[in-house]
C-alpha cells in the first residue's frame, strides 16, 4: 500500500494534532495560527509530490488524480484564507482561540477526502468529518446566542441530510451490491434500466447533497446559519464545504454516467432553476448583508449547476472555473464582513455600511470588487465563471436553466448594487462596531483575493489551461 498518495491528508491531520498538542502545552494564538498556516502550506506543496504519481487509486477508496488534486488545492488555499481572515476576528474576542484552527484543519481534511472520494465510505466519511468540524465552528462564539442557535440548526439539518444521503447510498448498494463508484458504473451499465432502488437512492442522494449545497428547496438553513455563524466560518461553509461537495457530485455523476437518467437530470435542473430564482428573489427582500450574501450564494450554486447540467468537457470546465471564481469572491466578501467586525458584534446590517467608502476606502473598494464579481461584471473572476458556465449551457442547448441564469443575474444586480450604493452614499459617520485599524493578516488576505479576482477576470487563460488538463483526467 502506497501511503504517499495520502500525504496531504496526513499532513493536515498531523497539523490539527500539532495545534492541539501545542495548546495543551501553552495557549498561544500566534503559535496556533502559524502551525495552521504552515500545515496548509506544506499540505499544498505536497500536492506536487503526489501529483507525479497521479492518477492513482488508493485501495478503491480514494482516487488521486489531477481533478482531486485541483479541488484539494482549492480548498486548502480557501482554508488558508479563512485562517488569515479569522486571526484578527478571534484576536479581538474573548474566547479560547486555538481550537478554532484545529477545527479548521479538520474541516479542510474532510473536504480533501471528499475531493478524492471514489467510494460511498469515503464519501460519507468526508461529509461527516467536514460537518462535525463545522458544528463546532459555527457555534464557536459560545456566549453569542445567535451563533449557538445557528450551530444547533446546522446540527439538526445537516444530521437529517446525512441520514437522507446515507439511506440513499444504502438503497443503491442494495440494488447494485457495490459501494465503489467505478464498479457501480459498470453494474449500472449492464442493467440498462436502473432499478427502482437505484432511482429512489439517487433521489435521496440528490436531496442529501442538495442540503449540503443549500440549493432550493433544501436551502432553508442557509440564511440563519450564515447569519449566526462567525463571519470567517460563514466563508468556510460557503466555499470549502460547497466546493468539496460539488467535486464529489461531479465525480459521482460523471463516473456513473448519471446524464443517462433523464429523471435525475430533470430533478437537478429543477433544483438549479429554483435556486437561481428563489435565491435571488429572497435576497431582494433582505436588509442584512450576511443574509443577502447567503441567498446570493444559493443562487450562485444554481448558476454553477447550469454548467454541471450541460456536462461534457465544457460543462465541467465551467463548473471548475466557476468554483474558483466563487471561492475567491465569497471568501473576500465574507472576509470583509469579518474584518469590519468589532469585539462585540459584526457589521451585518445594510445601514452599517452607509458611507463606508469614504471612511475606509480600501476595504470598501475590495468589497465593491467582490460584489461586482458576484454580480458577474466583466473583468472580474465572477464574470469569467459565469461566462464559461453560460457558454456550456448554450452549447448544450439547456435553454431553461440558461434563461433562469440571465433572469437571476438581472435580479441580482439590484441587491448587489444596493449594497454598493449604500457604501458610496454620502456618509455621515458610521456608528457600528469595528472602525479600527486594518489587521495585517486580514489585509494581506483581502489584497491577494482582490488581485486574484482581477487577474482571473482579465486574463483567465492560465486558469483555463490548468482546468483543461484536470477535466481530461475525470474518468
Amino acid at each position: 500500500m502506497n501511503l504517499g498518495a495520502i500525504l496531504p491528508h496526513m499532513i493536515l491531520a498531523a497539523a490539527a494534532v500539532l495545534v492541539l498538542l501545542a495548546l495543551a502545552i501553552r495557549r498561544n494564538h500566534a503559535t496556533a495560527f502559524a502551525l495552521t498556516a504552515l500545515g496548509f502550506g506544506v499540505a499544498f506543496a505536497s500536492l506536487w509530490l503526489i501529483g507525479e504519481q497521479a492518477p492513482h487509486l488508493m485501495q478503491r477508496l480514494l482516487v488521486v488524480d489531477l481533478f482531486s488534486l485541483f479541488v484539494s488545492g482549492l480548498v486548502m488555499l480557501a482554508g488558508l484564507g479563512v485562517a488569515f481572515l479569522a486571526y484578527h476576528y478571534l484576536a479581538i474576542r474573548n474566547e479560547n482561540r486555538e481550537e478554532f484552527y484545529a477545527m479548521l484543519l479538520i474541516a479542510v481534511l474532510g473536504a480533501v477526502v471528499l475531493a478524492g472520494a471514489n467510494h460511498f465510505v469515503t464519501l460519507f466519511l468526508g461529509v461527516e468529518v467536514l460537518s462535525v468540524a463545522l458544528y463546532v465552528m459555527i457555534s464557536y462564539l459560545h456566549d453569542n446566542p445567535r451563533s449557538l442557535e445557528a450551530g444547533i440548526k446546522y446540527v439538526v439539518l445537516a444530521g437529517a441530510s446525512s441520514a437522507f444521503l446515507l439511506f440513499g447510498l444504502a438503497l443503491i448498494y442494495t440494488d447494485s451490491g457495490t459501494m465503489d463508484f467505478t464498479v457501480l458504473a459498470s453494474r449500472l451499465e449492464l442493467a440498462h434500466l436502473p432499478g427502482l432502488y437505484v432511482l429512489v437512492g439517487l433521489a435521496l442522494v440528490v436531496a442529501g447533497v442538495g442540503f449540503k449545497l443549500a440549493v432550493a428547496p433544501f436551502h432553508m438553513w442557509a440564511a440563519d446559519v450564515y447569519e449566526g455563524a462567525p463571519a470567517p466560518v460563514t466563508a468556510l461553509i460557503a466555499t470549502v464545504s460547497k466546493s468539496a461537495v460539488v467535486a464529489v457530485l461531479v465525480r459521482f455523476f460523471v463516473t456513473i454516467e448519471g446524464y443517462r437518467y433523464g429523471t435525475v437530470v430533470l430533478a437537478m435542473m429543477i433544483l438549479a432553476v429554483l435556486s437561481m430564482l428563489i435565491g435571488n428573489l429572497l435576497a431582494l427582500l433582505q436588509g442584512n448583508v450576511k443574509r443577502i450574501l447567503a441567498y446570493s450564494s444559493i443562487a450562485h450554486l444554481g448558476y454553477l449547476l447550469v454548467g454541471f447540467l450541460a456536462g461534457g468537457q465544457r460543462g465541467i470546465e465551467g463548473v471548475l472555473v466557476y468554483l474558483v471564481a466563487y471561492t475567491i469572491t465569497t471568501l473576500g466578501a465574507f472576509g470583509v464582513i469579518g474584518l469590519l467586525s468589532g469585539p462585540t458584534g459584526e457589521r451585518i446590517e445594510l445601514t452599517d455600511y452607509r458611507g463606508l467608502f469614504w471612511e475606509r476606502p480600501w476595504v470598501a473598494a475590495a468589497f465593491t470588487a467582490m460584489l461586482l464579481s458576484l454580480a458577474g461584471i466583466p473583468l472580474t473572476a465572477g464574470f469569467v465563471g459565469k461566462f464559461f458556465v453560460l457558454t456550456a449551457g448554450v452549447g448544450a442547448a439547456q435553454w431553461v436553466p440558461v434563461i433562469a441564469l440571465v433572469v437571476g443575474s438581472a435580479l441580482g444586480i439590484f441587491y448587489y448594487t444596493r449594497i454598493i450604493a449604500t457604501m458610496f452614499a454620502r456618509g455621515e459617520g458610521v456608528t457600528a462596531a469595528g472602525t479600527g485599524e486594518m489587521p495585517i493578516t486580514g489585509g494581506l488576505a483581502l489584497t491577494i483575493l482582490t488581485l486574484a479576482l482581477f487577474a482571473i477576470g482579465m486574463y483567465p487563460t492560465p486558469l483555463l489551461n490548468i482546468v483543461r488538463t484536470m477535466v481530461l483526467y475525470i474518468p
Binding site: V394, V402, V406, T417, R418, T461, R468
Partner: protein, 522 residues
C-alpha cells in the same frame, strides 16, 4: 497599436487623475483635461490622416487593425479595428469627453479625484465599444462603461440619484446579458458550421443563421441596443438617469451612451443577421415611429426642464432607429449624421439646464420665466440649440432628419409620414423651452450671472460644428460612406457574405438613388 492608445489614454488618465487627486484635489482636473486634450488631438489626427483612405477604401476593409490572443481556448482575442464610422464616433467621443471635463470644472466639489476617474473610465469604455471587433471584447467594454456611469449618477447625482442609478444599471445589465446569450448562440452556430469556436466579428459574419434561431439571436442583440438607444418600450430608465445625473453625466449619456446603441445596431444587428433584420424591419421602424411621437408627447408633458430635454432624446433617436432599418444609404447617412448632431446639440441643452439649476436650485419651468432679461447670452445659446434640436434648415440636425425621412419614404412611406409629425412636436417643445424659461414675465426674482467668456467658449465649438454640418456635411458623409455602403450591401445582397441573394427586399431603383448622397458634395 494606435487603437490601443485611444483606449489606454483615458484609462491611464483616469488612474492618474485619481492618484494626482490624492496629492492635490485640483490636480485631478488638470490631469483629466490634459488627458482628453491628448485623446481629442489623437482622434482628430487620425481623422485627418485617414480621411482619404476612408473615402476611397473598399467596403469591409479596415483602416487600422490590431489583435492579440486573449483566451485562445475559446477563440477570444483582443481585436480592435477602425473604419470610417468608428473613426467619426471616436472623434465625437473625444470631443464630448473634453466637453464633459470642461463642464465639471467648477460644478463638482465633492470627491473630485474619484469623479474624474469615473468620467475618464466611461470615456475609455465608450471608445472601446466603438473599436472592439471581437464580440466578447465588445461585451466587456459594453459593461465596462456602465459601472463608472453607475457611480457617476449614484454619487454625484441629484435628489433621487440612487434610484435612477440602480434603474439604469438593471436595464442595461439585463439587456446586456441577453446580448451575451445571443453572442454565445452565434458563436455556437459558427462552431457548428466550421468546427472552430470564435468570437471574431469577421468570422461570425460568415455564420449562416436563419429562421427562428437567427431571429431570436437578432432580438437578443436588438434588445440590448434598443435599451441603450433608447427605443420604445425600453426607454423608462432614460428620463430618470438623465435627470438625476450630474451635468457631465447627462452630457455623456445623451452625447455618447445613446450612440453606442445606434452603433451596435449598425455594426452588429444588421450585418450579422441580415435576413432576420429584414424580416424585423417593419417592426423596428414602427418602434422608431412610436419613439419619435411618444418621446415628443412625453417631452411636452414635463415641467422639469431636464426631464423634458431627456425625453427629446427618445424622439430624436427614434429617427435614428427608423433610418437604420430603412437599409438604404441615404437613410443610414442621415441616421449617422443625426447621431453626431444630436450628440452635440442635446449635451449643449443639458449644460444650459445644468447652469440654470446650479444658480436657481430648481429645474421646474413653472418657476422660471423671463430669464432672458438677466441672462441674454445664455438665452441666445439656449435658443440656438433649441432650434437646432427642432431641425431648423441650415443646422446639422435638419440634414440628418431630412435624410432619414427621405430614405425611409422610399421603403416605408407611412412610417416616414408619421415620423415627420415628430418634427412638428419638436418645434413645439423646443420653442416651449425658450418661451417658458426665458421669455414672459419673471415669476420669481432670480438674479444669476450670465455666461462669461469661458462659458461661451464651451458652447462655441458646438455652434460652429452644427452650422458646419448644416451647411457642408460632406466630410462626415464621405468618411462614413464606405462603411454604410457595406451595411446596405449586407442586406441587399451585392456582397458575398449575404445569404439573401434571391430575396429582393428593396426596390431595384435603390442602387441609383444611393448615389445621391455622394453626388451632392461633388
Amino acid at each position: 497599436m494606435i487603437l490601443v492608445w485611444l483606449i489606454a489614454i483615458p484609462i491611464v488618465g483616469g488612474l492618474a487623475a485619481w492618484t494626482a487627486g490624492k496629492a492635490h484635489e485640483q490636480a485631478s482636473k488638470w490631469v483629466a483635461l490634459f488627458t482628453m486634450v491628448a485623446e481629442f488631438a489623437l482622434a482628430v489626427l487620425l481623422w485627418v490622416r485617414y480621411y482619404q483612405a476612408a473615402t476611397t477604401s473598399e467596403a469591409g476593409v479596415w483602416l487600422i487593425q490590431w489583435a492579440v490572443p486573449w483566451i485562445p481556448a475559446y477563440g477570444i482575442s483582443v481585436r480592435l479595428a477602425l473604419d470610417g464610422m468608428s473613426l467619426l464616433l471616436v472623434v465625437l467621443t473625444a470631443f464630448v469627453g473634453l466637453l464633459s471635463v470642461a463642464v465639471s470644472w467648477s460644478g463638482i466639489t465633492r470627491r473630485v479625484p474619484f469623479y474624474f476617474f469615473n468620467l475618464l473610465w466611461i470615456l475609455g469604455g465608450v471608445v472601446g465599444v466603438f473599436l472592439a471587433l471581437d464580440l466578447f471584447l465588445f461585451y466587456v467594454f459594453w459593461e465596462m462603461m456602465l459601472i463608472p456611469m453607475y457611480f457617476l449618477v449614484g454619487i454625484w447625482g441629484h435628489e433621487n440619484r440612487v434610484y435612477a442609478a440602480i434603474k439604469f444599471f438593471i436595464f442595461t445589465q439585463a439587456s446586456g446579458l441577453l446580448m451575451l446569450l445571443a453572442i454565445l448562440g452565434l458563436a455556437f452556430a459558427y462552431d457548428a458550421q466550421t468546427g472552430t469556436f470564435s468570437f471574431n466579428y469577421a468570422d461570425l459574419l460568415e455564420a449562416q443563421v436563419s429562421g427562428a434561431y437567427g431571429m431570436w439571436l437578432m432580438l437578443g442583440f436588438f434588445v440590448a441596443f434598443a435599451v441603450k438607444l433608447p427605443a420604445f418600450p425600453f426607454h423608462p430608465w432614460l428620463a430618470d438617469a438623465h435627470t438625476e445625473a450630474p451635468t457631465a453625466g447627462s452630457v455623456i449619456l445623451a452625447g455618447l451612451m445613446l450612440k453606442t446603441g445606434a452603433y451596435g445596431l449598425i455594426r452588429f444587428v444588421v450585418p450579422l443577421f441580415p435576413e432576420a433584420a429584414v424580416t424585423f424591419a417593419p417592426w423596428a421602424m414602427t418602434l422608431g415611429v412610436i419613439g419619435i411621437l411618444y418621446g415628443a408627447v412625453l417631452a411636452l408633458g414635463q415641467r422639469d426642464l431636464k426631464r423634458l430635454v431627456a425625453y427629446t432624446s427618445v424622439s430624436h433617436l427614434g429617427f435614428v432607429l427608423m433610418g437604420i432599418f430603412a437599409f438604404n444609404e441615404l437613410a443610414l447617412q442621415g441616421a449617422l449624421l443625426e447621431m453626431i448632431c444630436h450628440g452635440l446639440s442635446t449635451p449643449a441643452l443639458f449644460i444650459v439646464v445644468g447652469i440654470l439649476q446650479e444658480h436657481l436650485h430648481t429645474r421646474d419651468m413653472e418657476r422660471m420665466g423671463g430669464l432672458w432679461a438677466s441672462v441674454p447670452r445664455m438665452g441666445g445659446i439656449a435658443m440656438f440649440f433649441a432650434v437646432a434640436s427642432l431641425g431648423l434648415p441650415g443646422l446639422g440636425n435638419f440634414i440628418g432628419e431630412f435624410f432619414v425621412l427621405v430614405g425611409t419614404f422610399r421603403v416605408n412611406a407611412p412610417a416616414a409620414v408619421l415620423g415627420s409629425l415628430g418634427l412638428v412636436g419638436a418645434a413645439i417643445y423646443s420653442l416651449w423651452i425658450i418661451q417658458r424659461a426665458f421669455h414672459g414675465e419673471p415669476r420669481e426674482r432670480w438674479t444669476l450671472p450670465d455666461l462669461n467668456v469661458r462659458g461661451m467658449l464651451v458652447f462655441a465649438p458646438m455652434v460652429v460644428v452644427l452650422v458646419w454640418l448644416g451647411v457642408y456635411p460632406q466630410p462626415v458623409l464621405q468618411t462614413t460612406a464606405t462603411t454604410l455602403r457595406g451595411i446596405r450591401d449586407a442586406v441587399t445582397g451585392t456582397v458575398q457574405y449575404d445569404p439573401l441573394n434571391h430575396r429582393a427586399v428593396l426596390p431595384a431603383e435603390e442602387a441609383a438613388v444611393d448615389t445621391v448622397a455622394g453626388e451632392e458634395g461633388r
